[in-house]
Amino acid sequence: MKSHILALYNDMEEAALVLDELNTTKLPGFSMKDVVIKSPIEHPELSEKLGKRPVYVQLFTLMGVLLGPITGLTLVASAQASFIYQIRGGRPVVPIPPDMVLTYEFFILSGVLMTVVGCFIGWKLPGNRSPLYNTRVSEDKIGILVKAESSAIPFLHEVFKKHHSLEILGEEK
């Protein structure tokens, strides 16, 4: 039975110390993978302490930029070819430069769209907020959310408290 616990901190330094300690802690039913930091701004130095957490957005981007121009060009060219009248004075039915222009736009459009799709998937959004969310996180506080076996919760509680946490929230039972 796993449950959540969230602690709020005033600034990054304090949160960093907590994470350092958690990193060194070996506790049954607790893993560093289950630690989530919630913060009002980005925090690369804190994230480093959480270990490697890969981001897959650019894979989507790659997919987008590969598929976009191919489908775009095929669509445009075959639409031109199947246009019921095909003769256009001075230009071939399938002209290269205009199709390149359109392909380019398709390239960017599909790149952008796939990136955003990838982002949403990465965010796991739209989704429900976890019940352990404190609006102060979006203002100026750093939150550390840990998911662990219920047995580990009191210990974590202690650790948080040790580092002068402002507030500790646990799941209500």
Partner: protein, 282 residues
């Protein structure tokens, strides 16, 4: 709509018109010759065009704003240069030029139409499909001859007060507001005679069909016909005047009068003008 089609016919999709001998084996290529030495500027052709093609009379106020709908206009110039002295006497007469759609083989208007309302027909006409037109007016902007006319108003509402509308040619659409229109080489006549010829299992004979302007012209300054038929009068004149459809610069004898307007823009017009002749010693 298939990739297969695209690959199979790739070479034909990449062909550009005009090319050498393009109309050698084709059935039709409609073309025109206008002899400027014979043209007197009398406006018979323009009135015939109004009658044949349901052109609206726009009235003075709209004419003033530049909303005139004459598909064919007779231009009158006083000189060739860029400025003229005030005391010039036009002692060589005026220069008249009937100007209508040149039915370019590589028409600048066709390329830019966003919806393909103007395109090229197999018989060499620069078409304008009214019911496809959305009225972006790009074609007119890109036409070097400025021979495309836009329906700025719903002319049908006032140009033919009853019973004037009884004169309207039922073979030609009355255009609604917001569409572009232009000279069609009287396509309704062409298609009718082509249909009849097809029923008879032959091609249209030279002189069997002609445009309203050519038919009216009292001096027969306008010759219309099928360039693909080497026996036609038009083809003979083109050949005689050493004009090749697919060339943008003609190499011809000095004493030949044929020329096409704005050839340097590579529009490959289908209308050959014959130079005006003046007895400069008179």
């Amino acid at each position: 709509m298939s990739l297969n089609n695209l690959i199979k016919n790739w070479t034909s999709f990449r062909a550009r018109r005009p090319y050498l001998d393009q109309y050698k084996n084709a059935d039709y290529k409609w073309a025109m010759v206008i002899d400027l030495d014979a043209c007197t500027g009398c406006n018979a052709c323009t009135t015939a065009c109004y009658a044949e093609n349901n052109l609206p009379v726009v009235g003075k106020e709209r004419f003033e704003k530049g909303h005139a709908m004459h598909w064919m206009r007779i231009e009158r110039y006083w000189g060739e240069g860029e400025s003229v002295p005030v005391d010039m006497v036009p002692d060589k007469g005026a220069q008249f030029l009937p100007m209508m759609c040149q039915q370019c083989e590589a028409a600048p208007c066709e390329v830019v139409c966003p919806v393909g309302a103007t395109h090229h027909s197999a018989d060499g006409l620069n078409t304008q499909v009214y019911n496809r037109c959305v009225g972006s007016r790009y074609c007119s902007a890109n036409c070097p001859y400025k021979v495309r006319y836009f329906n700025w108003w719903q002319y049908a509402d006032f140009a033919w007060p009853n019973p004037l509308e009884l004169q309207l040619n039922p073979d030609v659409s009355v255009r609604s507001k917001g569409v572009m229109e232009k000279c069609t080489f009287c396509v309704q006549r062409l298609r009718e005679s082509m249909d009849h010829a097809k029923t008879d299992g032959r091609l249209v004979r030279d002189g069997e069909v002609t445009t309203a302007c050519a038919q009216a012209c009292p001096t027969s300054a306008i010759t219309f016909g099928n360039l693909a038929n080497p026996q036609s009068q038009v083809a003979k004149v083109w050949k005689n005047q050493q004009i090749a459809l697919e060339k943008d610069e003609q190499k011809k004898d000095e004493n030949m009068r044929g020329y096409r307007i704005f050839e340097e823009f590579r529009t490959y017009p289908s209308v050959v003008y014959l130079e005006r002749v003046r007895d400069l010693e008179a």
